[in-house]
Symmetry: C2
Subunit: 363 residues, 2 copies
Amino acid sequence: VSASRLAHLLGRPPLSGATYSAAEITARGNAVVLLEQRRLPGVETYVTCRTSTEVAWAIRDMVVRGAPAIGIAAAYGLAIASVDESEAGAFLPYLRALGDELVAARPTAVNLAWAVRRMVHAGERVAHAPGPDRFRALCAEAESIHREDVLACRAMGARGAALFGSGVTVLTHCNAGALATGGYGTALGLVRALHHEGKLARVLADETRPYWQGARLTAWELSRDGIPVEVLTDGMAGHFMRRGDVSAVVVGADRVARNGDVANKIGTYGLAVLAKHHGLPFYVVAPDSTLDPETPRGDAIVIEERSSDEVVRVGDKLMVPEGVRARHPAFDVTPRELVTAIITESAVHRPGDGVEVLPAASR
Amino acid sequence: VSASRLAHLLGRPPLSGATYSAAEITARGNAVVLLEQRRLPGVETYVTCRTSTEVAWAIRDMVVRGAPAIGIAAAYGLAIASVDESEAGAFLPYLRALGDELVAARPTAVNLAWAVRRMVHAGERVAHAPGPDRFRALCAEAESIHREDVLACRAMGARGAALFGSGVTVLTHCNAGALATGGYGTALGLVRALHHEGKLARVLADETRPYWQGARLTAWELSRDGIPVEVLTDGMAGHFMRRGDVSAVVVGADRVARNGDVANKIGTYGLAVLAKHHGLPFYVVAPDSTLDPETPRGDAIVIEERSSDEVVRVGDKLMVPEGVRARHPAFDVTPRELVTAIITESAVHRPGDGVEVLPAASR
């Protein structure tokens, strides 16, 4: 049902490779179609954005989330916008302004800035071409970003799965899955590869407060694929590690600094400390587009602070007394000493060795 | 308003020393009055139990929770029941059967068994006295358990606060406060003492999934006392420790084994590992009644497994896809090597030294 609904909305099959997708562009290039992730797992519905600004809002409000997915959504936002400004001299300033608006929607994930930069470069190459050609070129560039991300996820999955034997229980945090990427997923791409190779026992998914990405999204996409998953509260990881029930921690990333420090969803750092304490491997799975050569170390990464309200309310229910506030850093930074390996589509980096972590294009 | 309502229900001021109380007995000894903690912080209402079995249900269903508080509630349950069996030969078997029912309500906290044992011993001393005398003796014993617990909390608070300098930020988990005890609290008793001595900067309270004891209860009782408190999700502790925002972790306990291993709310163990990693003190505050000389080590402690439903539902809202289950160990065990000190009303134990941790009466 949903497969045909999404394909119908798009006028073609989604590029995600699944029956659902975090972000797509219509075949005509006139709208960006985003899975409304805030309504999962109860309702599977899509939001249609007709402008780049609407895409920026959707990113800020977390209709779409996950570092690679918001990069793809932003690229599609610029693609649909490129039809609107046909005057050659105004085109690039217009594209750059919309790009800035998209990048400002969320500060921590570097894929957003990376995708926007790539789209602006594509725009520069065709700035003096006829309007329809520019539009086609930018749609093609955005689709390339999407297709390459899916291929990168599959490559990461294969590369990561090769590091494991059989009977693996993966503990993961947040959602670094198909829903956070163009499709297939980073950390959950590795999980899918383990499952296909018969090596996976089960996934333990942190529920991941305050946005419940583990409970809502990771559980949704894994159970849909028939992959065994159990949900934990965020405080349970240590207990199960101590009992010997965890083989490895596998997470995604929002930004990897040049030295190998990793910014990811709040709670990741605590898992890395626990993994170290229990002698368990801690793997980060992320595409080259998440590696940021411009950021020397983790302490240079801007950590987005979101509102107290997102923590203290669940639906309409206020979970704290009136007048009490919650803290809400959306991400934390895991220092490279705690990272066993960072698995990309092109390499397995061991940042604890002190070697710089750079994307293939910069090496 | 609530002070007078509770006092009105009881026919006298509560023994808790506050305007509210987790567990009280009426002046006439005909009912146990429990604060309905599941409805906090939104609604402050009391449940009246007329039988010991009703008290057992209330303990199992977490109307009342917290190791010392459920011990007191159980003692009161046996006190009100003691009026019902006037035949001397039947009295003790009746009391013991009700005691067993109460102890079975929750397996991990040792205070429950401790309080029931103390009530049965009191019953043994008066088994052949006239019915009204037995009833008065058991009511008096239960009230002694309650009064002693409040005094113990104040002693722990003073003893614990003496370990600190000024400008202290305490990170705590679950609720080890007035609501978890006869009054004043264990971990939060220490917090109250720090506040009164002008040493406290603020409390960071883990929300404590799945029951939200931190968000709902710790925030409620601290904000009521004008003590600065901010709520964190359970995954944030490491982030704030790494930034240097935490002075110490202070928690309560449900059972302390003879060797100093500590069972407490799920998530406590992870905090202990994080505290160790960051060189921060990890303090456990608990009365002598929580120390269990019968349990040699933590691995002998039964960890209560509660239902998946309590994790995956928030109110009526299902947070995971249909068919996905959650794990729900209610407690974890922190090995003594990670415990800086266990603070009781009678001593500061340093279990890392390998010395046995015994209540004053057993030393």
